[in-house]
């Protein structure tokens, strides 16, 4: 029969049990964060809310739920899109799952929790209502930890400038789909110059008709070929890595 060593005092025993509990609790926490991540990757709209609640109940901080659960899931979505395994339909659906999870999480998140990588003002240029690509970019940027202000569609150069100033933006992301509207991007950059804030912001541009050459010609800092690449570029400009 196995006997406790006589020298093992009661306090030591309780410490071991405590430690075991901690390790066990840690495992449970990791499991539920994985569950959250998987809900996003598997586009599970029904499961995400419960999983987030479960995580919060276990005492995981809301910020950890966001960054170690949901953001990890979105990273995998980006990878799967790059690998050609996921399509626009999956990107949109993942965004909805994220939104569903945020419904539970957002009220618990404190603003100071979010270690902002930077503030991004994003929009589609004047005269252009196309926003599906821009919305995917905005969603991925948010889930990468940026503070994103989405100005929507048909945004005038003046509005871009005004919002950039108010929000103290460090990146401006400009989208246009059409050959007939892409020239408007140049007008936004001109307006940033005229307002004297061009050197305070990085400008990334994207949209169907654009090319790298065009982006360079109009004086943008970068051209994002697709949503995933755009996020990578913004990450390289992030304030905190």
């Amino acid at each position: 029969m196995w006997k406790l060593p006589i020298s093992l005092e009661f306090t030591q025993l309780s410490n071991i049990i405590k430690k075991l509990n901690e390790v066990w609790g840690y495992r449970v926490m990791i499991k539920v964060l994985d569950k959250i991540k998987n809900c996003i990757v598997e586009l599970n709209l029904e499961g995400i809310g419960e999983a987030v609640k479960e995580a919060l109940k276990l005492g995981i901080s809301p910020y950890a739920v966001l960054m170690d659960g949901m953001a990890e899931g979105m990273k995998d979505i980006g990878k799967k899109y790059e690998a050609g395994e996921y399509f626009l339909s999956e990107l949109i659906a993942a965004g909805e799952v994220m939104k569903e999870g945020m419904k539970v999480l957002e009220p618990k998140l404190k603003l100071q929790d979010i270690k902002e990588k930077g503030v991004i003002v994003i929009g589609t240029v004047k005269g252009d209502l196309h926003d599906i690509g821009k919305n995917v970019v905005a969603m991925l940027l948010k889930s990468a930890g940026f503070k994103v202000f989405d100005l929507g569609v048909d945004v005038s150069p003046e509005k871009f400038v005004k919002e950039a100033k108010i929000r103290n933006a460090h990146i401006i992301a400009i989208s246009a789909l059409l050959t007939t509207t892409m020239l408007e991007i140049g007008n936004v950059i001109k307006a940033l110059n005229q307002a004297g804030i061009r050197n305070k912001v990085k400008v990334i541009v994207g949209g169907a008709a654009l090319t790298k050459d065009f982006a360079e010609k109009i004086g943008a800092d970068a051209y994002g070929k697709d949503a995933v690449e755009s996020v990578k570029i913004c990450e390289s400009w992030a304030k905190t890595a």
């Binding site: 050609g84 996921y86 339909s89 949109i92 909805e96 004047k126 169907a208």
Partner: protein, 384 residues
């Protein structure tokens, strides 16, 4: 080679043989025409002063005049269904209109004189499967659609020698579907509510079959090309996984194309913007003869495209209108035409057209340079 009539030229190319020259389409249909403002610029450049007629209201496309199409060497002529007589558009707010499906469009100006009609309201955004039964669908058997159409087609067939491109107005599933539902919602439905997609597609199939049946009974014997199309890709790849297309959409198109083939000998023309390389085999399998617009800025090397699919499908389009036509020089346009003819025209199977409707940012000189180069480099046997 003896000079062919435009219809012979097009049909020879569609049968994958070499005609006397590469056929040209400008103005034949609602993805190969010219926007109203651009057409007015072109007419001014050609010294023609005449009121512009409309081919498609929502897309703001001009119906090109006969003398202009002759000047451009276009081998195709459009035949489209007429407006309904039992349906009147409901009252709309200023700067908007409601179409026959109940979709609301609004004017969006992209500069002070030019605008597009963009979808402003999706009437089925919140609908359930049950709601589809009570929705005020268009009446596919409205006699207005085909009034006078058989005579028009007969005249075009007997008194001209152009290839006739027919558009029944009832040919879209995915696009009409997402305009009714909302693009984002429809993409979500593919994953979260596929039953709704199937129910909506079935309803659209019922309507499109009825209207197209009536249309083809009137004109089926006169036409050479039947236009269909739904955008299914972004510039990178398909909008959805191929398996999703196969499960939810392909059966609907298959039934529709079989029905068309049972009513006419016309070739089936399928339009989808974007990179549809991964879809071509499936399209061919269910009866598509022609793909348009061959968005060269998205589909990769056109030479490889021809090598891989050239025996199975006709390429219709191919002249870049995202970069070359609006921003290129006349020399750039000539080089583009030369390159696409070199890549796509050997052994026939190619009809040259701009990738999509020519927008107001294209200099009229570039349109003329395109058709002149096509007539120069497109002569068979090809010397390039």
């Amino acid at each position: 080679m003896a000079k062919m009539t435009p219809r012979e030229r097009v049909m020879t190319a569609l049968n994958h043989e070499e005609p006397d020259r590469v056929p040209i389409d400008i103005g034949g249909g609602s993805s190969t025409s010219i926007l109203i403002e651009e057409y007015e610029k072109l007419k001014k450049y050609l010294g023609i002063s005449r009121e512009t007629k409309i081919l498609n209201k929502a897309f703001r496309i001009a119906r090109l005049d006969e003398d202009v199409m002759q000047r451009l060497g276009s081998d195709c002529r459009p035949l489209i269904s007429n407006p309904p007589v039992r349906w009147k558009p409901p009252p709309s707010k200023p700067e908007t209109f409601t179409d026959i499906w109940g979709i609301v469009w609004e004017k969006v100006y992209y500069n002070k004189d030019c605008y597009y009609w963009e979808v402003a309201h999706n009437p089925l955004a919140k609908a359930s499967i049950e709601d589809l039964e009570n929705y005020p669908w268009p009446d596919p058997l409205d006699p207005g659609f085909t009034i006078g159409l058989a005579e028009e087609a007969k005249t075009l067939y007997e008194e001209t020698d152009y290839a006739i491109m027919a558009d029944s107005g009832f040919k879209s599933f995915w696009e009409i579907g997402y305009m009714l539902r909302g693009f984002k919602q429809m993409l979500l439905d593919l994953i979260n509510n596929p039953e709704f997609v199937t129910a909506l597609m079935s309803k659209l199939l019922e309507i499109n079959l009825a209207a197209t049946g009536r249309f083809l009974d009137a004109v089926g014997r006169y036409i050479q090309i039947f236009r269909t199309g739904d955008d299914l890709a972004t510039q990178e790849r398909l909008l959805m996984p191929l398996e999703t297309y196969r499960k939810l959409l392909k059966p609907v198109y298959k039934r529709f194309f079989e029905f068309i083939k049972s009513k006419t000998k016309a070739k089936i023309f399928y339009h989808s913007c974007g990179n549809i390389v991964d879809l071509i085999d499936d399209l061919v399998e269910i009866g598509v003869d022609i793909i348009n617009p061959v968005q060269v800025s998205a589909m990769g090397d056109t030479k490889k495209l021809k090598a891989r699919f050239g025996e199975k499908v006709v390429f219709w389009g191919g002249i870049d209108t995202q970069h070359v036509l609006p921003r290129g020089s006349i020399e750039d346009v000539r080089n583009e035409v030369y390159r696409r003819i070199r890549d796509l025209a050997p052994n026939g199977g190619f009809v040259l057209a701009a990738v999509h409707n020519i927008q107001p940012d294209v200099p009229p000189q570039n349109i003329l340079a395109m058709v002149e180069a096509a007539q120069k480099f497109g002569v068979y046997p090809l010397k390039i």
